[in-house]
């Protein structure tokens, strides 16, 4: 639960409070707001291994602690956060590539679907998820991230410009190319 002193406070006000007085309650509130979204992003892009998700999540929030003083109240905190997260996630994905990890996605989100388990836990659904992961793995890290931010988080092109530092034309054409590539791969893998 969010600390009482932070309920109703804007993200921008909370991060200012953390910068000015190292208020851990304010940072906790930010973490509680952004952690679920960040974990969902990491699960989708990095893979289902919870240790890796945790490791990468820590990287992002530690970076936030280090760079929070750079935030300017003239922009939205979410944009600032996602640009930090983007850089750390890309670093993470690239370093894994360098040391020879392939993005191997496991099948065992739930080895045996239990009664009342989520609707995605059947064997057929698992295979479908596996197919999507395999198609995603064929994209470059930057492509995956941009596609996710646009299609899942609903980021606007303007927000993507601020997050990535790229021109809007570049982002639009990359998105179209990425979607084509992903659709092609999904088709090859028999996804319907």
């Amino acid at each position: 639960m969010e600390p009482e002193t932070s309920v109703g406070a804007s993200d921008e006000a909370l991060i200012q409070r953390y910068v000015e007085s190292e208020d851990n309650d304010a940072l906790d509130a930010i973490i509680r707001r952004y952690s679920p979204r960040l974990r969902r992003l990491l699960f989708t892009l990095v893979g289902p291994d919870q240790d890796r998700i945790h490791e990468c999540e820590q990287e992002v929030f530690v970076t936030l602690m280090r760079k929070a003083h750079r935030f300017r109240a003239t922009s939205k905190f979410s944009t600032f956060f996602y640009s930090l997260a983007r850089n750390r996630v890309l670093d993470f994905l690239r370093s894994e590539r360098r040391i020879g990890h392939r993005l191997v996605y496991g099948r065992n989100l739930d080895a045996e679907p239990s009664p009342g388990a989520p609707p995605h836990s059947g064997v057929e659904a698992q295979e479908r998820i596996e197919t999507i992961r395999t198609a995603l793995a064929s994209l470059r890290p930057g492509e995956r991230l941009t596609l996710y931010l646009k299609d899942v988080e609903g980021a606007s092109i303007e927000a993507l410009v601020a997050i990535t530092g790229e021109k809007s034309g570049t982002i639009k054409s990359r998105l179209a190319r990425t979607r084509r590539k992903m659709a092609q791969r999904l088709e090859e893998l028999g996804y319907e």
Partner: protein, 131 residues
């Protein structure tokens, strides 16, 4: 590729993120204190002594200023300054140059890009074709 097929990518990544919702919801939350402890373990053990930055910046300014003085005048057009030619000449003795039959074999070939007069002069000077 049709618009429908492009939508397939969007639908697929959304489907995956819905699974994420279920899976990561079970993970324990992290806290500011835990992160502060993690951050403390990552602090670099060595930092540059105070003043090193100032010395480095001063040295950089001196180098930049020196180069600025050497390159007085228009940067992209006109004659190559005599000081630069003298400097290049002083770097090599006449023994470093290949003459005779092998000269054409070792002569550098210019790439096909266009350069403008200044680059033409540079090329002529380096390849010796102006002489």
């Amino acid at each position: 590729m049709s618009r429908d097929r492009q939508d397939t990518a969007t639908e697929a990544i959304r489907e995956l993120s819905e699974v994420a919702e279920d899976a990561v919801g079970r993970m324990a939350p992290c806290s500011a204190r835990e992160l502060a402890a993690e951050r403390a373990t990552r602090r670099p053990s060595w930092r540059a002594p105070a003043g090193v930055g100032i010395v480095a910046a001063t040295a950089l300014l001196l180098i930049t200023g020196t180069l600025g003085i050497l390159s007085e005048g228009p940067e992209t057009e006109g004659e190559i300054p005599a000081e630069v030619l003298a400097l290049v000449d002083s770097l090599y003795s006449s023994e470093d140059f290949v003459t005779g039959e092998l000269a054409s074999f070792y002569a550098p070939q210019r790439a096909s890009e266009e350069g403008g007069e200044y680059l033409d002069q540079v090329w002529d000077t380096l390849s010796g074709s102006k002489e």
